[in-house]
Symmetry: D5
Subunit: 96 residues, 10 copies
C-alpha cells in the first residue's frame, strides 16, 4: 500500500555540528536500509529546499508511522502524509 | 529531468455528461500515451480526492509546460509544479 | 485499518429540490449500509456545519477511495483523509 | 455530549530528557484514567504526526476545558475543539 | 452552556429581491423569538461586514445545531462555532 | 461603543514561575477592576484554549488601545479587534 | 475617530454594462459627497488592483457601518476595517 | 509618489530593557525627522496592536527602501509595502 | 523604476470562443507594444500555470496602474505588484 | 533554462556581528561570481524587505539546487522556486 510523504527539515541553528553530523549519518543509513528493503520506494530532493518527497510501500498505517517516527531527524521534521492508490489511467497493473 | 506535479480536477457541475465523458476519454488516452513514452513516469490517485500526484521526466521546463497545457482537462485543473533532483540518500544512480 | 475523514457538503443553491432530495436519500441509504457492514465505524455531525467527521475501517487505501468516490454526494463534497493507528496511550487492544 | 479534539504536541528540543519522560508518563496515566472513566472515549494517533484525534464525552464545555487544561502536556500543545452531535444518518440511537 | 458563533452571510447576487426580502423577514422573526426565549443571548453586527457575532445559551450541542440549521439564511451562511465557559477572571458567578 | 476582542496568550516555556504568577495576579486584578467599571463588559474562556473572547464598552479607539496595551500580559498576547454595533435584529434598545 | 478600511471590488463578469455604469456613477458621487463632508478623509487606489485604502473620520462604529453599508458597490465588495488612533511618534496634535 | 506601509513590531521578550529603550528613542526621533521632512506623511497606531499603518511620499522605490531599512526597529519588524496612486473618485488634485 | 508583477488568468469556462480569441489577440498586441517601448521589460510563463511573472520599468505608480488596468484581460486577472530596486549585490550599475 | 527564485533572509537576532559580517561578505562574493558567469541572470531587492527576486539560467534542476544550497546564507533563508519558460507573447527569441 502506497503513501506519499513530504518531509521538511528544520535543524536548529545552534545544534552542535558534531551532533548534526551524527544525526545526518544515521538518517542516511536508516533511509538506505529501508530503500533496500523495498519499503521506501522513492526519495527525491525538492530543488532549493531542505525537503524531500518520498513514496512508501508498507502493509498498513501503523507500519508507516513506525518507520516515520523512527527517523533520526523525526523531531526536526514537519511531515505530511497522503494515502495513494492506483490511478485509473495508469498503465501499470499494480499501484506502483 | 524530474518534476513533481499535483493536479486537482474541478469539473463544473453543469458540464453536459457527454462532453465530460469525451474529455475524460481523451485525457486517459493522452496520459497513457505519455506514460508509454516514458515522459509521464508515475501517476497516483490521492485517496478520497479527485486529484493525482505525478512524476514527469522531461528535457526542460518548456516541454513540461507543453505537456501540461495540452491536457484535455487543463482548463478544469489546478496544478502545482515542483522541480526535483536526485536525493543524496537515494540508492539509485540516476534521479529516478 | 482506520481512517479519519472530514466531509464538507456544498450543495449548489439552484439544485432542483427533487434532485437534492433524491441524492440525500441515496446518500443516507449508502451510509447506513456501510455502517451496518462495519466499514463506516462512526459518523458525527459538526455543530452548526453541513459537515461530518467519520471513522472508516477498511482493508486498504483503495477500498477507502472506492467507498468515498461512490458517495452520491461525492461531487458536492470537499473531503480530507487522515490515516490513523492505535495511540500508545489507548486502553484498547486494537486500533479502534 | 461529544467533542472532537485534535491535539498537536510541540516539545521544545532542549527540554531535559528526564523532564520529558516524567511529563509523558504522567500524560499517559492521566489519559488512561479518563479513558477508563468513559470521558475520553477515543484516542487515535495520526500517521507520521506527533498528534492525536480524540473524542470526549463530557457533561458540558466547562468539564471539557477542565480536562484539557489539566493535561500534563497542555502547555506544549496546540488544541482544536469541535462540538459534535448525532448525525441524522447514524444507525446508533445515541450520539456515540 | 454558552457558545460563540460567527455568521457570515453570502447572498447570491441574482437572488430575486422578493425572495430575499421574504428570507430576511423570516430570519429576523426567528432570531427575535430566540432572543426573547433567552437562548440567543447576544447578537452584534460587525462594522462594515454582512456578518454577526452571537452568543447562544443552550442545553447542549444538539440544541445549538437545531437552532443554527433552522436559520432561514442557513444555506447562505458560513458559520464558526466556539464552545465557551466562565473565565477565571470573570466577576460574574455564572458563565454569562 | 462596543468592541469584540480575541486574546490568545503565549507564555514562554522558560518564564520563571514566580514571574509568571506575579503577571497573572496583576492581570486578574486589572481585568476585574475594568469589569467593575463597566468598560470590560464580558470575558469568556474558549474551551481547550489559553484564550478569551471579550466585549469592551469604551468611548473611542484610543481608550480601547490604552486598556489593551496596559494589560500585564500584553507582550505575551496576540490580539484581534473587531468594532461592533447594534444588530438590526437585536431586541435590545442600545448596542449591548 | 479614525478607521482604516480596505475595499476590494469584485464585479460579476456578466453584469450588464449599463447597470455597472450606473452603479459606478452613484458610487463616485456618494464617495465625493462624503469626502466633502470630511468623513471620508482619504482614498487611494492600490496599483494594479481594483481596490482602495481609505481613512474615515466618524463619530462611532455605527456611523462607519452606515456609511459603508450604504455604498452602491457594497454587495460587490470585500471590506476590512481597522480602528486607528494617534501614534505616539506622530508629530500631529490630533489623530489625523 | 505614495506608498502604504504596514509595520508590525516583534521585540524579543528577553531584549535588555536599556537596549529596548535606546532603540525606541532612536526610532521615534528618526520617524519624527522624516515626518517633518514631509516624506513620512501619516502614521497611525492600530488599536490593540504593536503595529502602525503609514503613508510615505518618496521619489522612488529606492528611497522608500533606504528609509525603511534605516529604521532602528527594522530587524524586529515585519513590513508590507503597497504602491498607491490617486483614486479616480478622489476630490483632491494630487495623489495625497 | 522597476516593479515585479505576477498575473494569474482566470477565464470563465463559458466565455464564447470568439470573444476569448479576440481578447487574447488584443492582449498579445498590447503586451508586445509595451515590450517594444521598453516599459514591459520581461515576461515569463510559469511552467504548468496560466500565469506570468513580468518586470515593468515605469516612471511611477500611476503609470504602472494605467498599464495594468488597460490590459484587455485585466478583469479576468488576479494581480500582485511588488516594488523593486537595485540589489546591493548586483553587478549592474542601474536597477535593471 | 530559467528559474524564478524568491529568497527571504531571516538572520537570528543574536548572531554575533562578526559572524554575520563574514557570512554576508561571502554571500556577496558568491552571488557576484555567479552573476558574472551568467547563471544568476537577475537579482532585485524587494522594497522594504530583506528579500530578493532572482532569475537563474541553469542547465537543470540539479544545478539550480547545487547553487542555492551552496549559498552562505542558505540555512537562514526561506526559498521558493518556480520553473519558467518563454512566454508566447514575448518579443524575444529565446526564453530570457
Amino acid at each position: 500500500m502506497l503513501f506519499h510523504v513530504r518531509m521538511n527539515v528544520n535543524l536548529p541553528h545552534n545544534l552542535p555540528q558534531a551532533e548534526a553530523a551524527d544525526i545526518l549519518a544515521r538518517e542516511k543509513a536508516y533511509s538506505q536500509e529501508l530503500q533496500n528493503s523495498g519499503k521506501w520506494r522513492h526519495i527525491w530532493r525538492l530543488a532549493g529546499q531542505y525537503a524531500n518527497y518520498s513514496i512508501f510501500d508498507v502493509s498498513d498505517n501503523a507500519e508507516l508511522h513506525a518507520i516515520l517516527s523512527g527517523l533520526p531527524l523525526f523531531k526536526f521534521m514537519e511531515i505530511e502524509v497522503t494515502p495513494l492508490l492506483r490511478h485509473p489511467s495508469s498503465i501499470r497493473d499494480n499501484d506502483s
